[in-house]
């Protein structure tokens, strides 16, 4: 796969290859230092550890033989980390206080629960927005930075409308919720003068999930790997890049069989190394996703121009982590 596309690249520049060159042993040596420093600092080193981790992963992810760069630093993320811990500390204190009052004073419990849920639902759109702004601005390739142009207001509007529809449809709408958030996020993502968009539809995801769910039950779980493959395709293959009026598309050729090998292999690695093999799990997963991904169309990697401003606010990078939000 690799070989054919590199030879192709000499004849045409419109099909840049994507590749992940990271090695488990290298990442492992980074993670060991990270974990040791986190233990010594009682976890405060986390933002620096995360920065180093991302710097490595980005550095080893290549497009057209040039690597991406993550410019984020531990110092930037540390401030966000502390703010995040503070906000979560307050929210959880309220919740725990309410729980302890639940028997004697159900009213207080109800109010505390409400405050907690309201707090979370305000934080989620803020965190998505903040993370996208920070993460894209700290990502560059050949010196060209990504960027995020979305506004917090439009994210709020979209989030609450979709949350409302999801609640009144008892969760059925969640497939459209997920898709609409992706549409909003990608629509506002810039890669220099190129612009992303997402063309997946909620109905597609809904059908895919119903089919995956039923077949997984009928095949006693075996189909779950093909379901996961379908989800990856849905998330990747619907990403478009527009550059100077021409559209290209990301395309994943990952098969269910490959995903099966990846997932089972990862599980075995984790079990037999007592978790120490986590670095290999990361590099294997990255390699499977990235090496099977192509850009189809007339994307010209040599024609990107710098368009974004410098941006350094990392407040919500870690908060998104704490809420387990992973978008890309």
């Amino acid at each position: 796969m690799q070989d054919t596309s590199t030879t192709e690249q000499e004849t045409t520049i419109t099909q840049p290859t994507l590749a992940f060159k990271g090695q488990g042993s290298e990442l492992f040596s980074i993670q060991i230092v990270n974990i040791a420093l986190m233990l010594v600092t009682l976890g405060l080193y986390y933002p620096w550890a995360k920065a180093k981790n991302l710097q490595y992963i980005y550095r080893k992810t290549e497009m057209a033989d040039s690597p991406f760069t993550f410019h984020g630093t531990g110092k930037e993320m540390f401030i966000g980390f502390i703010k995040g811990i503070g906000i979560f500390g307050v929210l959880y204190s309220v919740l725990i206080y309410g729980m302890l009052q639940a028997q004697t004073d159900p009213g207080t419990y109800f109010i505390c629960l409400l405050i907690f849920l309201a707090g979370l639902s305000v934080l989620v759109p803020i965190a998505i927005h903040g993370m996208m702004r920070y993460r894209t601005s700290r990502t560059s390739w050949r010196g060209i930075h990504m960027g995020y142009r979305g506004t917090l207001g439009s994210m709020f509007k979209l989030f609450y409308l979709n949350l409302f529809l999801t609640i009144i449809t008892f969760g059925i709408y969640s497939a459209w919720f997920t898709t609409n958030v992706r549409k909003e996020v990608f629509k506002n993502m810039r890669f220099g003068n190129a612009q992303f968009s997402y063309i997946g539809e909620g109905s597609e995801l809904f059908v895919l999930n119903i089919k995956g769910y039923l077949l997984t039950i009928f095949t006693l779980g075996i189909y779950s790997f093909w379901w996961a493959k379908d989800l990856i395709h849905f998330y990747i293959n619907n990403i478009l890049i527009e550059q100077d009026g021409k559209y290209s598309r990301l395309d994943s050729s990952l098969t269910g069989g490959q995903y099966f090998k990846l997932a089972v292999g990862n599980l075995l690695i984790m079990i037999f190394t007592l978790g120490l093999g986590y670095a290999w799990v990361v590099t294997r997963t990255m390699a499977a996703i990235v090496n099977n991904c192509e850009i189809i169309g007339e994307f010209n990697p040599d024609a990107l121009a710098q368009t974004e401003e410098d941006y350094k606010n990392a407040t919500f990078e870690d908060m998104a982590d704490m809420m387990d939000i992973g978008l890309v």
Binding site: E26, M38, Y92
Partner: protein
């Protein structure tokens, strides 16, 4: 002089460039189309460069950064030879990776050993220290909440509860906390202690008992758990494990879940073997203190023993019941007094059995 590509930070077009390593700066002479130019890179403004492979990348200056990419062999070595001490080449991560397989294996194993030490000794020891310093009022308040929450899905036998409280009142008890005993309808032979002096007894275990000394022994055992703060310590311990894991994996959302989870599973909390045998000793002491037959403790154990299916004994993490009996009997041999009948306790016991 090395050949590479120069990126000016304004477009992604790579420009062929000749790179020269001068003593105090790097010279980048680029050429693209009809244009050409020369950049002088001062060492102090070159950004830290880590994780290079066949491709060595250097970045320079403020946003938007310029960069060079060099595939030519020998460039990395030349950089290190020329600017070995420069800030942009320093990396603690790379230097650890350079220790090779031995370093990685040693690092991994010592990390694993550290984790085991921390989990097996460090966390429990710290948690117990912390639990021992909880103010009593706080522990009582926590216990009240937990107890109330547990009673929600239990049927309280109020007649038996009243009778068992009368029995307790006639006993001579030493405790930091006021002891509140509740009898609930449940066939399982079980009883457990909630922090702050709350004891819950299943009527299933009362039905099995034939002599009141067994009840005294049971109460003594549970009061022992309360007095030695075993359940508070167990909660603190599982909470600290969780906090340690969430620090390592950066997830805080589960801490509240652990507290709530513990409230509902208090009755199946695992105490350590030492905690159980210490409480057995406390039960025995209560019998001795009240001049009751110390054999009560052994009889109690036999009730527990008969309940446990044979096959479970191997896998049970609870201390083996026959070991506990042996342990108690060795303590009984050290006691030296004549049990005296206690009419008040017997009357309360009769009343309890009646209901």
């Amino acid at each position: 002089m090395f050949e590479g590509k120069y990126y000016n930070g304004r477009t992604s077009k790579g420009m062929p460039a000749f790179i020269t390593l001068e003593p105090t700066y790097i010279r980048v002479a680029w050429q693209a189309g009809g244009e050409s130019g020369t950049e002088i890179w001062h060492l102090s403004e070159i950004h830290k460069s880590e994780f290079n492979d066949a491709n060595t990348i250097l970045e320079y200056g403020p946003f938007p950064r310029q960069s060079i990419s060099v595939f030519e062999q020998g460039f990395k070595e030349a950089l290190e030879q020329q600017y070995g001490d420069a800030e942009f080449l320093k990396s603690s991560y790379s230097s650890f990776a350079k220790t090779g397989i031995t370093g990685l294996v040693a690092g991994g194993l010592s990390l694993l050993a550290l984790a085991i030490v921390l989990f097996v000794w460090g966390v429990p020891a710290l948690a117990e220290k912390a639990a021992a310093h909880f103010p009593e009022e706080y522990e009582r308040a926590l216990g009240e909440q937990l107890h109330a929450q547990m009673m929600l899905d239990q049927t309280i036998d109020s007649a038996k509860t009243e009778a068992i409280q009368d029995y307790l009142a006639a006993l001579e008890v030493k405790s930091d906390f006021p002891i509140t005993v509740t009898v609930v309808k449940n066939d399982m032979v079980n009883a457990f202690a909630v922090p702050g002096g709350f004891i819950v007894v299943h009527d299933g275990i009362l039905d099995e008992m034939e002599r009141h000394e067994e009840l005294a022994g049971l109460l003594g055992h549970e009061i022992g758990h309360v007095q030695m703060r075993h359940s508070t310590k167990a909660i603190t311990r599982s909470l600290s494990y969780y906090m340690l894991l969430s620090i390592l994996f950066g997830d805080v959302s589960g801490i509240a879940a652990v507290i709530v989870d513990n409230a509902s599973t208090l009755h199946s909390l695992e105490y350590s073997r030492t905690a159980e045998s210490d409480s057995d000793k406390a039960g025995l002491e209560l019998l001795v203190q009240n001049k009751l037959n110390p054999k009560g403790m052994v009889w109690l154990m036999e009730r527990l023993n008969s309940d446990e299916p044979e096959f479970l004994k191997f896998i049970s993490t609870h201390p083996n019941t026959s070991d506990r009996i042996k342990n108690i009997e060795s303590h009984i041999r050290k006691t030296n007094y004549k049990p005296e009948p206690n009419p008040e306790l017997e009357a309360a016991w009769a009343k309890l059995k009646d209901r």
